[in-house]
Symmetry: C2
Subunit: 454 residues, 2 copies
């Protein structure tokens, strides 16, 4: 008899082609201009779920739609697995340094290059293909499954949060599994037990009513691009710590035990250097590199702009300039309080010679998952069988805001078993996903469903 | 007999329509993508010169072409007037706040709105129409004229400088007249006797080899947008003076007499506020507003950019960021020395955690014109007769680099008689030119040619 793993291997080529078709849809959730494409991706995924034997629906929210699929014929005694993922992606523009159109996937050297390849279309799709392989090869699943795939993970998960909070009964499960994270090396899988929170703000500086001729008014007007730089330069202290008063007030201190565990993870300065390409490390000197990105809160300028930055130059005093800020938060920091702290500090340092506005969008707090839950053992075993290596447990610097909501609203243990590589360059140009990891991920997802049933 | 002034009035409508046709050509010289449009504008203007009875040619340079037209039948005894102007324009994008496509001119409330309307297509065209009106109405000009209209005033005048330096004999003249400046009020014309110099630089900060995921690397990498802000914030002192060491070393001090003269010009803080729209004045406290923009050197950030500034947000540490700098210089400052001072200061303050590159493009030194030249009296009289008001003499904050070249290479007195208004918003959105000033300018240009002959 053909096993699900055999089936997955026999249909590897088709699975990859389906993923490529899915990646062609530019489902950018952070830009309203792409709303129709996000909807098209949702419809594609729901159709695909129906094709492989699930019942599926597209559920509207106040923002982008959710795709919900289920197969519940394993019987009331069998456990129920909630599989979460997201089908939306970050913005991507070929001009940012891509070697191909980010929405015309290219397979090269065993990797698929496309926006969303690893984050999260590719990783999420491993579960869809695991379910298909079991259904097609074995006629049934050993567990009930609920697939909850959202379309706005990259833009705050507002609609999903509302849906989960309003419909806990529909989503009842024994365990929730998420593949939206990565490992340092293909032979060193990782299970995440802590995620940072996130919150965003934007500083807008305006001065003259419109761009002014720099020869006629420069020197008499506080240049908004200069004033913005002066404000941004005061957001960090010279040692790399965040200068916003109150920013660290609620941070739960790292225990010595945790610091020792973090120190055991393989992440040398050389590895950091070869992945980032930056000339030398930067940041809070009293914390290690790994601590800075996983266990400490940060404030990043994700974008800055004002005036003319095209070819040549324009002899103006620009009318305005803006900077986008994204903070990663750790346990016990309140996103709303951080936004308020930023707003009040920026207004306090804002000079009277320009207008300064700060808007904030409150994200999600950090979360920490209980390592002792039995589902964690199942996940460990699934990696050993399906991936071929035992995982380590670690903190993750990134954020998956919905995890906190699952914990709170559904009371379900969450297992974060990522199938990506740290060097996949998610969110940047040339994002990619290893074909081998795609297929190992399918086998690991199959193993997880099998193990959780036994 | 019809006078040139009668002719200009009878054909006012056609003159305006011709200017509008000319303004439709997006002859942006600072952006290589528009090179063909610059060339199209040159061809249009040369054809137009031929149509009105001049001989004309398009002269290639290493950069954009020059349009040269002449009429030399006034006889060897008659003086020769060199008319300079430029047909190239600043960049313009409707999205910058224009109420119309900047290259689809709109006439509204007695003004023509289009990029280049006042700077300099409209002002320069007054001379073309003055020449046409005299030729058509009177059959001849009282002087010989040479029209030298360049296509790269907004991008450094490199080709023209080379041409003027190499061909002084072709351009021999008794006086040079330029209309590329403005007045505070339609009834207060101004003759410029000093212009600031100009020089440009660009700071490029890079760090990671590509955009990085802010959750995975933020806090361990010196964010290039932040590092750039930290550098830009150190370019000025808290009192608004430029912090670059050596910047003021060669500045010729303002005499008390000059300061008194500057203080007599009408330019209240209220007027400054209503034109700029900025909340309050800024800049070197020991100098008046008018001194800051006309008699002191400045360093402006004309553009800053890095990371993602579109709709929504992108969770990245950007790979790079850049700022464009434009300096206005006063008498005795050397543009090359200023560029070197900026480069060396920025490298000195650049942190080792990022790569910092500074490129400079050397512009032109400041110039000062002799007020006692007889041509200045002719210009004063031309304004009285053609415009209807007597002009004042003043310093100008802007730069017309070629004036220094005319002085040096041709030894010709330069008369800067502008026909624009300070509020025309040149270089910004909704640049416009008053139709009444266009026609008064034609009459003033006619009066100038008549008076210079007598």
């Amino acid at each position: 008899m053909t096993t699900a793993n055999d089936f997955a291997q026999e249909h590897a080529e088709r699975f990859r082609q389906e993923l490529i078709d899915f990646l062609k849809i530019p489902s950018i959730s952070t830009d309203a201009d792409y709303a129709a494409e996000v909807r098209r991706a949702a419809a594609w995924l729901a159709d695909h779920m129906r094709d492989i034997g699930l019942s599926a629906e597209v559920i509207d929210t106040d923002s982008h739609p959710i795709v919900y699929g289920e197969w519940r014929n394993a019987g009331p005694e069998a456990p129920t697995v909630l599989i979460y993922g997201h089908y939306d992606v970050q913005p991507a523009d070929e001009a940012d340094g891509w070697d191909n159109d980010p929405f015309e996937p290219v397979e090269r050297d065993g990797k698929i290059y496309a926006r969303g390849a690893t984050d999260d279309k590719g990783q999420m799709f491993t579960h869809v293909k695991a379910v298909e392989s079991m259904l097609k090869a074995e006629g049934r699943l050993p567990v009930n499954v609920k697939l909850l795939i959202e379309g706005e993970e990259e833009s705050g998960s507002g609609g999903l949060t509302q849906f989960v909070t309003a419909n806990p009964d529909k989503l009842t499960a024994d365990v929730c599994v998420i593949s939206d994270s990565s490992m340092p090396d293909i032979n060193q899988p990782v299970i995440i037990y802590a995620l940072r929170g996130i919150t965003a703000a934007e500083i807008h500086v305006s001065g003259p009513a419109q761009d002014l001729h720099s020869g006629m008014y420069g020197g008499s007007v506080h240049n908004p691009a200069q004033a913005l730089a002066e404000i941004v330069a005061q957001l960090h202290n010279p040692d790399g710590s965040v200068a916003v008063p109150g920013f660290y007030d609620d941070v739960r201190p790292l225990s010595e035990a945790e610091r020792a565990e973090i120190a055991r993870l393989p992440w040398s300065e050389d590895a950091w250097r070869s992945i980032t390409g930056a000339p030398q490390p930067w940041g809070e000197p009293e914390y290690s590199l790994r601590e800075r990105v996983g266990a400490r809160p940060t404030l990043e300028i994700t974008g800055i702009g004002g005036g003319y930055t095209g070819n040549g130059f324009k002899a103006i005093v620009p009318a305005e300039a803006r900077a986008k800020i994204l903070c990663r938060l750790v346990a016990d920091q309140d996103p709303a309080r951080i936004v308020e702290a930023i707003k009040s500090y920026v207004q306090q340092i804002a000079p009277p010679t320009v207008h300064v506005e700060v808007t904030g969008s409150i994200g999600a707090p950090a979360v920490q998952v209980d390592i002792d839950n039995p589902a964690m053992d199942v996940a460990r075993s699934a990696y050993e069988k399906g991936w071929g290596s035992a995982p380590v447990f670690m903190r993750e610097g990134g954020s998956i805001p919905i995890v906190g909501v699952f914990q709170q609203a559904l009371g379900v243990p969450v297992v974060m078993m990522g199938f990506g590589l740290n060097s996949d360059n998610l969110h940047g140009p040339n994002e990619h996903f290893s074909v081998e990891m795609f297929h190992r991920g399918i086998n690991t997802a199959i193993a997880f469903l099998r193990e959780i049933a036994s």
